[in-house]
Structures are given as C-alpha cells and as structure tokens.
Amino acid sequence: MPNFDQQPPAGGGAPTPQGRGGAPGGAPPAGGRGAAPAGGAAPQGRGAAPPAPPSALALKYPWPAKPVLLGTRVKRIDGPDKVTGRAKYTHDINRPGMLYGRIIRSPLPHARIVSIDLSAALKAPGVKAAYNVKEPGAQVMYQGDTVAAVAADTEERTKDAARLVKVEYEALPHFANEEQAMDPDAPVVFMGGNTRPGTAQDVGDIEAGFKQSAHIIEATYYTHVITHVCLESHSIVAEWEGDKLTAWCSTQGVFPSQQGLAMGLGIPAANVRVITQYMGGGFGSKLQAGAEAVIGAKLSQMAKLPVKLTLDRKEEHLDTGNRPSAGAKVKAGVTADGTLTSYQADSWGTGGAGQGVGNLPIPYIYTFPNRKRTHKDVYINSGTQRPMRAPGHPQACFLTEVLMDELADRVKMDPVEFRIKNAPVQVPSAMYRTYLPEGAKLFGWDKRHATGDPTPGPIKTGFGVSVHTWGGGGSGTQAHCDIMADGTVVMKCGTQDIGTGTRTIVALVTAETLGLPITAVRAEIGDTNYPRSGGSGGSTTAPSAMPAIRLTAAKALEALFVKVAPTLGVSADTLVATNGRIHVKDDPTKGVTWKDACKTLGADTISVDHMWEAGLSSVNSSGAQFTEVAVDIETGIVKVKRILAIQDCGLVVDRLTCESQIYGGVISSMNFALYEDRILDRVTGQMVNPNMEMYLLAGMSDIPKIDIILKDMPERGVVGVGEPPTVSLSAAIANAVRNATGAAIRSLPLHPHKILAAIEQQKAGGTL
C-alpha cells in the first residue's frame, strides 16, 4: 500500500505534458483555461488561449469574501410548487380548444416512401389537421423517422386517426450495428459513404515508446449506445395568434428553440415566443427545438387551434437522441517503473444515421508522450445522436481508465499510485494529484485487495477508481433587474431551469448582492421575452448566468444608493446593503430599511439591464470517484455498495443544488455501466426495448450511499458542474468488478451475462 501522504509537489514530478494544446483526439485540457483565479492568471496545461481579464465592474463587485447565502444549503424556492403540482410543465399546459398532435413514424430502419394516404385519417372523427412530413419518394433512414402528422380533438381520436394513415414503403438495405456498416462488401447507404475517417494523430515516436516499454497491452474496449430517457418527454404546446406563435416547449434553451421554430416554420424569429417554466430532464437532448416541436406548431397553424404534441416513451428512445457508441483497438506501453510510454488506438463509433461519435478524447487525461491514432465515424440506420452529458467523455474515460488498471497490474502498482504518477501537471482545474490520495484515504483504499477477491464463496468484492475533467465556462448571458417603490425585486433572465435549480440560484445571487433574504426576490426565467441567455448545456448555465445576475443586481443597487444617499446626508459610494437594510458602510446605525429605501423611488422603478462580464466565472474542473462493488460470480449480478465523489466547481453557489447535480451525475454514470442499453435487432434493425421495462434503469434500492466531497475554490468564480460528475463512475465500477472477479472487463454495459462470460474467459486463460 503506497503512502498517499507523500504527494508529489504541485506541478512537479509529472511526465512531459502532452503535445500541443488540445490536440484533437488527445486528452482533454489539463488545466486549460481559467485554471487560476477567475479571469486572472495565464493559461496552464495544454496551451489554451488565456481567459479574458476581469472587467472593471467584476473587480468592483467580486464575489463577497464573507457571503451570507452563497455556498450555504438553500432549498429550492420552487420546491413547494413542484411537490404540490402547482409547477406547470409543458405537458400541464392546456389551452382553450386545444388539439392533440401525433407523429406517424417509420416502422422500418431504411426505406423509400412509395405513398402516403391521409384521406381516411382526415375523415376520422375529431381530426382537424394532417399533413405529410415527408413526401413520397423520400427516404426514411431509421425506425422512428418522421413520415406524417395528425391532430384531433382528443388524444384517443388522434391515435385512432394516426392508425388510419396508410403508408407504403419500399424496404432498402440497412445497418443495425457498426460491424454491418463497416463490412467492405456492404452497400453504400449514406451520402459520402457508410464510414468517414476522423481525426488522425501522430505525436512523438510511437515505436520508440514501445521499445522503452517493459509491458505492452493490446486489447479492444467498447462502450455501447444509450438514450437520454428524460422523464418528461419532448413536448410542445403551440398556439398562434395571427402570424405570431407562442410555444410552451420542454427545452433546454428557449432562445435556441425560438430560432429553431422560426427557421423550421419559415417565419421571423421575432414572431415566436418560447416559454419553459419547468423542465423534467433533457441531458443534452433538448438543446434544439426538434422536429417534434416544428410539427406540433405546424399542425396548430393548419388547424388554427392550439396543439399539444407530447412524445411517448417509444418515440423518446427512437428519435430524440442517444449517446454514441465508442470502441478502440488499443496498444499501450508502460516502463517497469510505471511510466506511460506509447498509446496507439484505432477507434470508431456510431451516432446513428449519418452521425458519428465525434471527437473522442483518448487517451483520457493521462500523459502518454507518444501517441498515434486513427478514427472512423460509422453510420448505421438508427435514430441520430444528440449531445448527452459531457459528450465523448464517458466513453473516453472508460476506454482509458480500464486500460490504466490493467497497466497498473502489469507493473504491480496500486491503481491510485499509478494514476498519480501519470497524472498531468497539477493546476487548480486538474487536481488529480490531490484528489486521488485524499479520496483513497477517505474511502479506505488501503483495504483494497489485489486483482481477484481471494475470499471463498460466490460474493466477491472489489474497489475501483476513475478520474474525469470537463470544460464548461460562461459568457454572454443578459439580465434585467427591477427594484420597485414597494420594495419588490424582480430579476429576469432568459435562461431556463432544466431541473438543476437555476431559478433558485438566480434568486440567491440577487438576494446576496442586495443584502436581502432569498424570499424577497422574484426570479423570472424561461421566457424569450426576458433578456437573452444561452441554452442550458455544456455546464455553462451557472457560469454564464450568475455573473450576469450579480452585476445586474449590483448596478440596480447602485441606482438605489443614489436615490437613498441624499435622505441620509451621505455620498452614495459610502453605502452598502446588508441584512435587509441600506446603511453607511462604517456606521451601520446610519441607514434605513430596504422598504424605506425603496419608498424614495416615489413613482419610479429602478430598471437595469446588464450582462455577463469576465472575472466572475472560470472554465474546467476535475474530480475523482471511488466505488466498492459486490459481484455474485454465480449469477453475474453486480451490486454497487458505496460511492465517493470528489468534485471541484469553483465558487459553490448553492451547496444543496450543487450536491444534487453530483448525485444525479453519479447515478447517471451508474446507469451507463450497469443498466441502460439500447438494443437493436441485428436483422430487423428495430429497437427491442423501447420502453422503461426492458430498457433498464437503477431503482431506488440499486442506488448505494453516495458521499460527496465538494472542493470549494471561490477564487475561481462559478464553474459549471452539470457534466463532470457523470463521466467517471462507469469506469470505476468496471475497475471494481475486475478487482472483485479478476476477469478483464472491457466493454459496457456490465450485464450479468457479460460478467459471467468474462469470468469464464478468465478461467480459460484470460486475455491479459
């Protein structure tokens, strides 16, 4: 057992940093931008561009050194609305005369549409609109591809009418998996070919590195396709008033949806208002309006009545995105003392029909000085991918971290010690050399046995670890603050709450800045009538919105100080706002209550617009996750016993919602490892489990105790945490299963039959 108390010095002891900054296909930024005080220091790590320097206003209004609310555990302000049903999700919106829309979808994975007959559907009771989404002659490229749409006055009549739509197809060749598409004898199904070469990389001297290696592993690793499984399915309620559309959308971006609807319908964006007050899960799949929203709006336009179009669970699995597969045939070397040498990989992956896996950042995080890579995007006839929580990272993490444990075994090093030895240079956004030993101590890593649990009996236990990184960052978001004469404070921002607590932290930062309780602030978000903000994705929401909220509130407060100062006989710049009062900074007795201060506005309202400025947020974060599992080697069932997640996220805005994000991310990663799997029939190309019965997800009893260690770094400003914690647990679980069983675990998901097969393979001689 290594002594983790003896850590390498920060920034020292590391092997040579990888090539140039951010090589495509290489490891993610180690340190990268903003790896020091927010907006301050020079970039570190992979040569990324330096962050913009802090603005004058950000320097004037930095995050408070002694906050009242920031970093505390503030309950969601909309929690009561959610648990009582007052919160209105898109599906809860009902408009007078509203119709229900439904999409007719292809049952075949690839076909040419010969004919579409809507006549019977149009004559059906209650039907008000129907149209061809695709015309005869067009091709459908996957099961679930859109063909036609219908709207009627009840859900039942709409379903009946949809069944009356007659579509004749001419079946065409299709691919249900990557092997079929990569077959050199396969027909060309996709424009440009069934595969496409991706980024190639050749850094250092790959062969010289292998010659230096005492051990070389050659193996193939693979992660599967999963779907987003949003509990609230994709939906829209569309209502027209003349040529203006109001759309209640389940979306991660009201402004992206506004543009998507406008371009999809061919109308001015200014004619589209999108509202999303509450949203029940998107995970990247709701960053675009989606065909379903355009179809719902078009049905409404045709019928001249409001239309609600809500996808069912099967449609969600088939046509609202997925996480691409990723495989890699890897050859990797290590010296006798445990220093990584060369990494060679031929990778591939599919994001469905015409979409690949995109950038796959392997080798993940660790420093191989010599690297050679080829990549191939593979197209199959399935629903197309959409961004899904840290795109590319969960796959790359698994492909690399499982290899790391195997290499550690070859040199007989502890996996934590091996990782520390090969971790990138330590910077505030890449703290692996700190988090790994700290986590090991907290987790009781010294109780880990060598690979293969030697204890008798069918239940074997094992420990696993993995690390991760992500970018995030912010810019651009605008906000508007009203302070009214009765003391009311309203903060408006066109961001949206996708279930993460954004509404709460908008109110929290406003209240903190104005010296008020959070209940004194009304946060209004989720509407394109509010100041512009980006979509909630890429862990950018908090780092984009919170600086905007902080500075807008500060500017509004400045304006209020100007009104109040004469009544106190002082200069405005001597005033501060704390604890519901405005008073002289050096004389708290000389002041007035917030309400009395606002009375000085008379008939006026302070109304201030401002936006994000550099200096209050940063990009990049790092974390480590540990887990212990129990594996029944007779049934192949894996039970996760406990999890430890260490995560940094700069300034913690609300500790409670921050931890909630980490819980969610960790559980998501556990689902990726053990349960979720989109299964396509290899002959018919149809999904065999488009539901929530055979498409498995963890239940409450499957989820173990999860300990979270939040690493506060307030000097970095706000850093997003939506994606990082969802990356690495799946790899840690695989490593723990290997530690328990002694069997090589090189592909996901870890379903029982695969565990048993791996154990049998190991008994037969293994692949190590």
Binding site: D202, Q355, G358, N359, G473, S475
Partner: protein, 78 residues
C-alpha cells in the same frame, strides 16, 4: 516527426459551410476558444442538425455534417 492532421474540420466557417448547420456549441453561452482543437474538445460531440428541418438530415434528406453541408449541395445556404 510530429504531425497532426485534422481530417475533418468541425469548426463551422462562414462562406464555406451551410448557414443552417447547427451544433451544441452554437447554443450555449461560452466564448469559443480560438484554438479549434480546444473548442472541438469541449463541444464537438459530432452531433449536427439542420436549423430548417430540426433533424440531422437536411431538406434534401441527406445527413447534416460539416464535410457535406457545403456549397454544391442543393439545399445549402451560404
């Protein structure tokens, strides 16, 4: 020898790529890194869609990707 070849420019270039191509990085509030490699690492998930169809297929029924959403394609808007 140290070479790196980007065989697939995933950064959308005005005047080269169709103006209707979309990806995640276009819709989140983040300052694009001037280094395309860093930018791509953060936001190139390989997921592209058409703003007009709101799917990963263009108006002509063919896939949406930077390598094929360029001039010469009938539905391409430059």
């Amino acid at each position: 020898m140290e070479t790196e070849e980007n065989l697939r420019s995933t950064r959308i270039v005005f005047g080269v790529h169709c103006l209707k191509i979309r990806h995640k990085g276009m819709y989140v509030s983040y300052e694009p890194d001037p280094d395309p490699a860093v930018y791509n690492e953060l936001f190139d998930s390989g997921s592209y869609w058409c703003a007009q169809t709101q799917t990963s297929f263009g108006p002509d029924g063919q896939p949406v990707r930077p390598d094929i959403c360029q001039g010469g394609r009938t539905c391409c808007a430059l």
